[in-house]
Amino acid sequence: MNLAAVALVAVATLLAGSYGLRLSRTTSDFYVASRTVSPLANASAIGGEYLSAASFLGVAGLVLAGGADLLWLPVGWTGGYLVLLVLVSAPLRRSGAYTLPDFAEARLESMAVRRTASLLVVLIGWLYLLPQLQTAGRVVAGMTGAPAWAGGPLVAAVVIIGVLGGGMRSITLVQAFQYWLKLTALAVPLVFLLAAWRRDGAPGIADEAWLLPVTGDQQLYSTYSLILATFLGTMGLPHVLVRFYTNPDGRAARRTTAVVLVLLGVFYLLPAVYGALGKLYAADLADTDGVVLELPRRLLGGALGEALTALLTAGAFAAFLSTSSGLTVSVAGVIGQDLLRGGVRSFRAATVPALGVPLALALALPSSLPVATMVGMAFALSASTFCPLLVLGIWWRGLTAAGALAGLLTGGGLTGAAVVWTVAAGPGEGWAAALLAQPGAWTVPLTFLVMVGVSRRTARPAGVARTMVRLHTPEGLRLDRGDWRPRRV
């Protein structure tokens, strides 16, 4: 039954993708769905793309393992959109940029910054894709009895066919569908699980230490660093930003983001409950990422348990597909545009390294850290590079190309080193390990300081005044916005 659920999601995704193929013909269709998507559809698509395996499976697993402190993770993943809404959404849409490198080029008029931003997009994308593919391997193996290596290539194959087939237009439809699929797949089983829990006499959780939040200095540091990285990292995720271009104007971009806040808030009510039920009924699990899929068997059993497990497996598979598709489109777009010659042909060629590199890594390192922890590192990298670039670039005329470049290299280099160290060394004890596992609290402020410090000593881009008009004024007004356009890809 689980195998059938996985197959059904894969086929439905591909069918929706081929529907998109008939609709998308030009390059701009391919990338951004020609900007004809309504706010609710667009917000569902953002939600569908954003809610990855880390949200669907990982949050409940980490809550089971770590208790109340880990509730901050979904709070940050939602709150990040509030920060994105107030600081970035409308100006970014008005900049006309397709991607982060486009924005860097438009604002700073520098190819060096553009290339550095491209490199960072690829690194963040890979860091985010790697745990998706690793977890896909574990889940598909655990749920269908397939060999452990099979899940990653399966997800990769469906994503490649879907992306090559339709580009962004098909992806927008598929992603919007996937949000509602994921919400249903997580909500329906929960109703039955809670009913079973009540029949069981509604037992409480006795473990006080698990129930209560932060107790020590180090935990307090980790909590704050997590909050900073998630709240500020969301705005720099490549697959999230490209979605803003599918809004018709800056105002629609804002409204879309506000709807996203509601959709994510509804979804994130659920994983914490799975975590708490897991603490009661599945506290012995070694691989806590599996708790969501394990609960129906333990609480219900029988045909109902099997059916709900199949539904959850379908939701998890949808989560792997949607996030991986979005990331692959973004990474391939950047590789195609900045490393290859550009155009649809380059985009198609670029999907191979975009997905192939993390797939090879996932097969070489079958399992390391929990999925939500790995994704948290992609957020930390994004928060200490693109967040300062976007915030200072949009709101401060003084940001210069040299300042941005220095900041990106500082933040990217230090956070990248911390990530590599943590992945290589595994979880550790003590302050040094905590500082490296959650680097956001020191790398983000440092990057801001470097960008501001270097910018003050260097010359501003020539067109900054016109760029500011372009970023901040409503599209209806006839004003001089400069003539910058993203390069046709």
């Binding site: 709150g79 600081l87 129930l211």
Partner: protein, 84 residues
């Protein structure tokens, strides 16, 4: 023009400050006020109700309020430009 950017920035920073106080204050509050830490409401621990439930409507409400204010600022600016 710079008045528009200033008013939008002021609005954004206001929301961010509110968010920082709310979200930044919560871990400290829960650490330093044991009665709140250990309180229960309807049998559920209050820190869980705050973190797993209450924050989300607050985020959504703040978001909607911001959208309305930001559009208001833009409308004022549009009227100013068109009157000239």
């Amino acid at each position: 023009m710079s008045a528009l950017v200033r008013s939008q920035l002021r609005l954004s920073l206001f929301v961010c400050t509110l968010l920082a106080l709310l979200v930044g204050g919560l871990p400290l509050l829960l650490l330093l006020v044991p009665p709140l830490r250990e309180a229960r409401l309807l049998g559920l621990p209050v820190p869980w109700l705050l973190l797993a439930v209450a924050v989300y409507p607050v985020f959504a409400g703040l978001g909607w309020w911001y959208v309305r204010q930001a559009e208001h600022n833009e409308k004022d600016f549009e009227e100013l430009v068109e009157r000239r």
